[in-house]
Symmetry: C2
Subunit: 218 residues, 2 copies
DNA sequence: GCATTTCTGTACCGAGTGGTAGGATCCGCC
DNA sequence: GGCGGATCCTACCACTCGGTACAGAAATGC
């Protein structure tokens, strides 16, 4: 229905692949933010012209929202995966470590679109910052739920404020994103994560396995 | 020299107080970011018109930079003060707690100007985001120095990676700012800080006093 | 072939951007 | 009072913004 596939209709076919153009848009928004990106920047990067953009995506704002959705499904897919880890500690550790890799990975701008996109905007664009804030809140909620389950399952000490723990983790993650956007390297961020994980260890019942060394694997 | 005081010169006197106008500018930039703020927004908030603004501050960009300097000297003066605390733990605890208060205080927009101002900008405004990043790096450096001193003085366990510790603290602080900008309340942020302080405790030699109260019991 | 349908390209729209010119206005000094 | 000097206000500048009208181009269906 959303015609992401190559629909062979009756008229002249599109000269571009929608998801491909969307990926280009993601990169521009990611690097320069919503307000720092003009339609000219977008059309130049996407390789299409304004009427085509408008027909395909509706408006700059709708394009941004669709870009964010795709961003989530591609660049941030790892986050959902981390929730599947067996224990609370493993979830948090996995999330923070993969976040660092994602924030500083090559092939895309550093940092996180959901923050760089528009932490604060002009009044006329306030919908953007609200949309982004709501988006960020979703993962925090999912993580809080996951940690609440973990507390019931006994791999967090009883009585742990799981909401606070989740908030701490995403807060640290967002701080990492800010740092990454400013050019901090992977090692720098990993070092901060190691410190943060020390805090988590305090909420893990003694006896539960906490990955022993810092960054190395099993 | 900078004529911040009311200089009685030979010509017509100014119809506004410079620092007062600067404070208004700070608030607008703080809430909407550099690119989300137009000259019209500024003149309306500052109560002066464009030529006066231009004569007094040079340009939008110079106004922003002067606003950031004043912001640092007023709204973020607490940060420098926290470095005077006697121990590393006290420094970090004081910084994070006062940061939460500052980020969610009344009488000004939530969050932090140095982040909301322009985490990422259009290419033509890249100087702004770089300027902000450099500004943020200053405090991280000061904190790292302070913690290095603390390690020598023995109130951090020997061999502590003080740079990583400093980076963790400011990373958490920046995450708090992102959350605050999105509307998180004081209690929410404090809860995250409590978790973070657990990590710090791991770097404090046993016997050193760690403020007991806060969130945990003993 | 030809009508139909859809997309592409150019050229344009009103509104708003950051920034400025020039004159009116108000002041201290003489 | 008159002069020189600094500020304030109106109106405007070239430019870019997001968004669109319209005609030409390329495909399908008959």
């Amino acid at each position: 229905m959303t015609s992401t596939a190559s629909y062979r209709g009756r008229g002249r076919p599109r000269g571009f692949v929608e998801d491909e153009a969307l990926d280009r848009a993601i990169h521009v928004f990611w690097e320069h933010g919503y307000e720092g990106t003009s339609l000219s920047d977008l059309t130049a990067a996407m390789g299409i012209n304004k009427p085509s953009l408008y027909i395909a995506f509706g408006s700059k704002e709708e394009l941004f929202k669709r870009a964010l959705v795709r961003y989530k499904d591609t660049y941030v897919a790892y986050a959902a995966g981390t929730l599947e880890e067996p224990t609370a500690y493993a979830v948090i550790e996995s999330y923070l470590r993969t976040a660092v890799d994602a924030l500083t990975g090559s092939g895309h701008p550093p940092g996180c679109l959901s923050i760089q996109g528009g932490l604060s905007c002009a009044p006329s664009n306030s919908g953007i910052s609200e949309f982004l804030a709501a988006y960020r809140a979703v993962f925090e909620g999912e993580l809080a739920q996951r940690l609440a389950r973990a507390e019931k399952e006994g791999d967090l000490v009883g009585g742990t404020d799981t909401a606070a723990l989740a908030r701490f983790v995403v807060t640290l993650g967002q701080g990492l994103a800010v740092h990454a956007a400013a050019g901090a390297g992977r090692e720098d961020l990993q070092a901060a994560v190691e410190v943060g994980l020390r805090a988590i260890a305090a909420y893990v019942p003694s006896g539960t396995s906490v990955t022993p060394a810092a960054a190395n694997g099993a």
